[in-house]
């Protein structure tokens, strides 16, 4: 049996601001991981990554990041993605300034 596909979100950095963004199901780029489209099908994930890569004049460096379904939308599985969605731990900068998210 094929190995189970780990769910993914499409994430990138905004071209102008440089901050972390996520692709939503309705083709917006959101600053909130919780609004990202959680992709559970591998083929669909590749299609969505191509959709993102086509928006090169708005975003930089799109890739698929592992995520799991949480109570409020997707949540990170790795600490790197947890930092990306929140901001640095030495100052309340980045997304912590505008949209405080409890760290898991």
């Amino acid at each position: 049996m094929a190995r189970a596909f780990t769910p993914k979100v499409v994430t990138a950095n905004d071209l102008l601001e440089g901050d972390v963004i996520y692709l939503t199901e309705d083709d917006r780029w959101s600053r909130e991981l919780s609004e990202a489209e959680l992709i559970t099908d591998e083929a669909h994930a590749q299609v969505r990554l191509l959709d993102a890569a086509r928006q090169a004049s708005k975003i930089v460096g799109a890739y698929l990041a592992d995520a799991v379904a949480g109570n409020n939308g997707p949540e990170p599985t790795h600490f790197r993605e947890d930092f990306r969605r929140a901001g640095p731990s030495n100052y309340a900068h980045g997304k912590q300034e505008t949209s405080p998210q409890p760290r898991t």
Binding site: L16, G18, A56, S57, V60, F83, G94
Partner: protein, 554 residues
């Protein structure tokens, strides 16, 4: 201080105008990211975890008060009110927006600064002893030569697409404060028969394959030095490995070919290159030297200093740790700690930068230095001014008396900012500093350098820390390896790994056990951590760190 010539100013204005147009073309979609990325990196602009990052060179670590004020302005106007001084005498802004960067570069150009070659496979910012021009122990001020190297390497047509980046450090003293043995090329100024030249070290470097540099030549006179360096970089540029980025640095080339073979190739190349250098470089060096003429050191009584030293214990403690001997006996070198306990190593607010600029202007002949140890230095201070400086620093949380002590930690930005990082380093530094402050043990422990990197690339110089800490990602959690006995000075050594790593919440207690072991093992209070480690070896530290392994082996 070097003052830009018309040529420098025009060159920078043109580069900045080019980059402004490149940014515009990226934003309007004419350039893809693949096309734009090498262009932005040539101008010091990275994309990190949460934002862009602009790395500005502070050549050989020297700043005037006007330049420091401009750095403060950038922090306030286009960033979040602070800047981060790095381990290679740069300042990094962690939150610029792409649209603003051309304006930031123009603002830097106003004070003769830039971000050119702070990234990419080029010759990077040439770093120098942060006490240069002031130290009591130096043969000569290395900064004129460092400036010559900056001009030679900037936009050098042969050295823009090298196998990998290339870092040069220079010191004028036998006591190595510039970590020259951990650079691609390290230069130590020496005088022979009244001729000034340099001892040339090659092939040092940290990263995933740490190496201590080897001596390429014991003496090259200044007349020949630039040709000799061009020959050295040129040999590597030709035979350095481009097939594997992890084997591309000159340290691997030296390791694979052997220092004798490299020396032979350099000498051969040198004979070809030498005729191209017809003395223009030496004329330029003479001119540059004029820019770095020492200030007219003022005379005056040091009685007020002596009285404050006797009567004020807080001042005395600060003087004992943060002041170094100056070549003029009535003067002193002041190191301002940017390592307040619990704060981020190397971060200064715009206000703090202005305070330091004001102090430099009022008391320090308008000069500041940035050290690779992420502190700020007032290189020339008359001792009678020390009490006033200390009082002002206290008002702005800049008077921490911890230089060379356990809380004077070098730490890279780690996973809090860096896209390459595998673990955090800043919070580890903050917690170690806070813990030993609580224990009130810092001054008793004495000279001890902790250096922390958040990935194998070793920006935090962990291999040459007396205690080195390397943060890794082990199966999806942060894990920290410890090395002991590293040394970044003239007696350079790569630290030895203690054994298995420690989880995030175990790393501070592990450091505490190492320090406790040192305090038990040392012969007397004068024996430093490094001396004790060299005498007793790894065994007692291992026993303290891994009691279970000891029990199992028994």
């Amino acid at each position: 201080m070097y003052r830009y010539s018309e040529f420098d100013t025009a060159f920078l204005a043109e580069r900045n105008a080019q980059f402004r147009a490149q940014v515009e073309r990226r934003i309007d979609g004419s350039l893809t990211e693949d096309e734009f990325k090498p262009l932005r990196l040539m101008n010091g602009l990275y994309l990190q975890l949460h934002a862009y990052m602009l790395r500005v060179a502070i050549p050989y670590g020297t700043l005037s008060s006007a330049q420091m004020r401009q750095l403060a302005l950038l922090a306030e106007k286009w960033d979040k009110g602070y800047g981060h001084f790095t381990t290679r005498q740069n300042i990094q802004y962690n939150w610029p927006k792409l649209n603003d960067v051309p304006d930031m570069l123009d603002a830097l150009a106003e004070v003769g600064m830039h971000a050119i070659q702070t990234s990419g496979n080029t010759i990077r910012n040439v770093t120098a002893d942060h006490f240069a021009g002031a130290a009591a122990d130096e043969v000569a001020d290395p900064r004129p030569y460092a400036e010559l190297l900056r001009q030679w390497s900037t936009d050098h047509p042969e050295f823009q697409f090298m196998p990998r980046k290339f870092k040069i450090a220079i010191t004028g003293a036998e006591n190595d404060r510039a970590v020259i043995k951990a650079h691609d090329i390290g230069l130590q100024l020496v005088e022979r028969d009244s001729v000034l030249g340099a001892r040339v070290i090659v092939g040092g470097g940290l990263g995933r394959t740490p190496m201590i540099g080897k001596e390429l030549s014991e003496f090259v006179a200044f007349d020949d030095l630039l040709a000799y360096l061009e020959a050295t970089v040129s040999v590597w540029n030709q035979i350095g490995r481009r097939d594997n980025k992890y084997k591309a640095r000159i340290k691997i080339t030296v390791h694979e070919h052997g220092i004798d073979a490299i020396r032979a190739k350099v000498n051969e190349r040198f004979l070809k290159v030498r005729p191209q250098f017809k003395g223009a470089d030496m004329n330029l060096l003479e001119e540059i030297k004029g820019h770095f003429a020492p200030p007219a050191f003022r005379d005056g009584s040091v009685a007020s200093f002596e009285s404050a030293y006797t009567n004020d214990p807080v001042f005395r403690s600060w003087v004992d740790t943060n002041i170094a001997p100056h070549k003029n006996a009535d003067h002193a070198i002041v190191t301002i700690s940017i390592k307040k306990h619990g704060a981020t190593p190397g971060d200064a607010t715009a206000e703090q930068m202005r305070v330091m600029a004001d102090l430099a202007q009022e008391f320090a002949y308008d000069e500041l230095r940035i050290s690779h140890e992420q502190n700020v230095i007032l290189p020339h201070v008359h001792k009678s001014d020390l009490p006033a400086i200390h009082a002002k620093l206290k008002e702005h949380e800049l008077a921490t008396a911890n230089i060379g002590l356990i809380s004077d930690i070098i730490a890279c930005p780690g996973m809090d900012y860096c896209a390459l990082a595998t673990a955090r380093s800043i919070p580890v530094a903050q917690e170690i500093a806070t813990r030993f402050e609580d224990l009130k043990l810092e001054h008793d422990i004495g000279h001890l350098k902790i250096k922390i990197s958040g990935c194998i690339n070793a920006c935090g110089h962990h291999h040459v820390g007396h205690i080195g800490i390397l943060g890794l990602d082990r199966a999806g959690v942060e894990n920290y390896q410890i090395t002991l006995g590293g040394d970044g000075t003239e007696t350079a050594a790569i630290g030895d790994r203690t054994g298995p790593g420690f989880a995030y919440d175990e790393i501070v207690p592990a450091v505490e056990r190492i320090v406790d072991t040192y305090l038990e093992q040392r012969d007397n209070a004068e024996e430093t951590f490094l001396e004790t480690y060299r005498r007793v070896g790894m065994a007692p530290f291992k026993a303290a760190l891994y009691p279970e392994a000891q029990a199992n082996a028994a």
